[in-house]
Symmetry: C2
Subunit: 438 residues, 2 copies
Amino acid sequence: MAGIIQPKVLKGFRDFLPSTEIPRRKLIRALEDHFISYGYVPIDTPVLEYAEILLSKGGGDTDKQTYRFTDHGGRDVALRFDLTVPFARYVAAHHHEIPMPFRRYHIGKVWRGENTQRGRYREFIQCDFDVVGTDSASADLEIMLMMGAGLKALDAGESRIRFSHRGLFNRLLEKLGLQGQTAEVLRIVDKIGKIGADEVRSLLGEMVGAQGTETLLDFITPTGDNRRTLEKMTTLAGAAGDSSALRIKAILDAVEEMQLSHGLVLDPSITRGLDYYTGIVFETFLDDLPGLGSVCSGGRYDNLTGLFMKQPVSGVGASIGLDRLMAGLDELGRIETASSATDIIILMLDESLLAKYQRSALDLRQHGLAVEVYPEMKKLGAQFKYAEAKDIPLAIIIGPDEAAAGTVNLKDLRSRESYDGLTLPAAREKAKGLLGEK
Amino acid sequence: MAGIIQPKVLKGFRDFLPSTEIPRRKLIRALEDHFISYGYVPIDTPVLEYAEILLSKGGGDTDKQTYRFTDHGGRDVALRFDLTVPFARYVAAHHHEIPMPFRRYHIGKVWRGENTQRGRYREFIQCDFDVVGTDSASADLEIMLMMGAGLKALDAGESRIRFSHRGLFNRLLEKLGLQGQTAEVLRIVDKIGKIGADEVRSLLGEMVGAQGTETLLDFITPTGDNRRTLEKMTTLAGAAGDSSALRIKAILDAVEEMQLSHGLVLDPSITRGLDYYTGIVFETFLDDLPGLGSVCSGGRYDNLTGLFMKQPVSGVGASIGLDRLMAGLDELGRIETASSATDIIILMLDESLLAKYQRSALDLRQHGLAVEVYPEMKKLGAQFKYAEAKDIPLAIIIGPDEAAAGTVNLKDLRSRESYDGLTLPAAREKAKGLLGEK
């Protein structure tokens, strides 16, 4: 006999058992339905692309973490590490075929050869939604509002969006003469939630001196009132009348009129490290689990499609952290776990009744029930144990006597109650009643 | 300015526009619902696995076509080329955690560096469903019946399953002294649909002589009657009383009793080239498009999990050719194409009414309608053109006058009829009525 190969998965990669995959698929469907209700359409792009395309944006960690290799045809290819760069490439390739403004969602796996020590996975699902082809307050607002409503639909409760605007931030850096150090300053400010204000002050001090540091820290500290925060930001950045200040004002006006102000916090410490953002940037936190971190983040990018087309289109979008959201819902006890969605199992008491079992199952399925037939004649104890392992609530039992009499016995496996001698249609109705009580 | 990077995809890979991705996602959802109604549960496995695992089964073309490379950690890894080998690995890894018999479905992308000349893609979606942990007529029957019912549910009409049994075929080869050449004989017989009986006769003749060839050709020719075909197969193979002959009989008995015989044809020319099949093998053809080829194929494999575990479990399963099925449904005009699922577009007549537009959209969505807001104040002509490109049937128009009066105008973009001066709830009910008439 040839040796057995160890059935192991790569480090940072995961198998999903049904008990996890069932709620994950439900969550994805609910998200899809939510996106569709906002007019977003699905697209798909290849998992594998030319490395030149995926790495065109540049950026230290990404380059190092990307799975990259040479294919059979000698092409330099890579596995996508996000859905944003492929989307920019897609927009450039198809801008004549898609109606602009283009609202799309895309749910798919991405790969990053990250250090798994930090609890990160090397393969995970991203859920992105974006609008490209318009730079408007309406699109900014829509992208931010979508997630709040979506989280409620997913039973995640109330949430709070913390947003800012990179244009205002850049304006401040210009005023401080720091425009050449934007990336470094962003990186430091982005860490304030993790390392605290003192550490940020010390790091910034080395770069921009005491005066600049205090201005920066003042700028990124929210006041507790959106209007006052905006006023302070505008004043410090010397940006009165700037389009970025006006954009924030338009957004604040709209959410106020919509009576949704409580869900939107202007928080200038939000910067989203990534350097392709040029407009609003935001993160989303669950009220019930603020320590979970952002479950949905994004912003506006003006230049990303410019890598692939001469007349770039502005876009705004967000990405949902599905693993984190699932973990949060799980922690809140709001994920219904089940090992199957089967309503009824038809037990096998006699192999010669195979056709009867299968026909009964077909009939029940035609009436909307999820039904499986136990496929071999094992002891009833083993069959009941199987039903329990799959969380199946009801069983139908047909032995030779019932088959001869044209009846079935229905058993509620939760209450252990039996309903014997029913016709199949009667059992079906009874089953529907019992399932309704679930 | 840095040069523009050509936004091209790799040869054999595809972008999907919404007009294709929308029906594809619908089809996948319908398949999932179908699988679930039979008690099948979803799982997921990594796209990337150890090459040793994926290539453990061996087999010429697979090895050559697999995307294989060395990762950052120096591991020899590969992209999965099917969902069957990863499933065998999964069963071995988790057999203590999953209830047996285990019914699972898995829908995911796979990659093969095939010659694209033949209209093949290098990235495509497979939809697999399998039962492992039981070798029973009930499971064989279920796997075959599932697809017939599924195709009807997908509006593909009636279909016909052509099935055979590799055990009987092997028995015949033994009798002819050809057991060492099983793979070659299978490869030749498998081509009969493409190259015709004469060519098969000539190829076999070189290998097995005139007498053997005639026996083989006689064996693989169906009689037009399942019972007579079985009798002929059994006689030629000298397999009376063999478990494989009994299994076919049990299946024929059951479908006859279920009055589904018309859908199941015993066709001994069906072999499924792959060498891991050991029991039933089958292919599925649409009555309305027999020339399309098989849309769902599979069989029983006894030894596949044995690559990864000491006590292998038998399994039976099938794989749906999603691309082919989509092409067939499209050819039959049974795919509803639409560029979105949006019911209503709210046009933007005045930027200062942004909050009103967004609030109205939220209200309509809460009542089950898919609604989008046009995000900027373009000319109405451009907004209507956008609505048309997205196949949006209804528009809501709110200008300053309507806003002041607290009314909206509803327009049916298909009939060009307008319903003016409605309250939002009245417009909502009217819209539902108009959409019902779709």
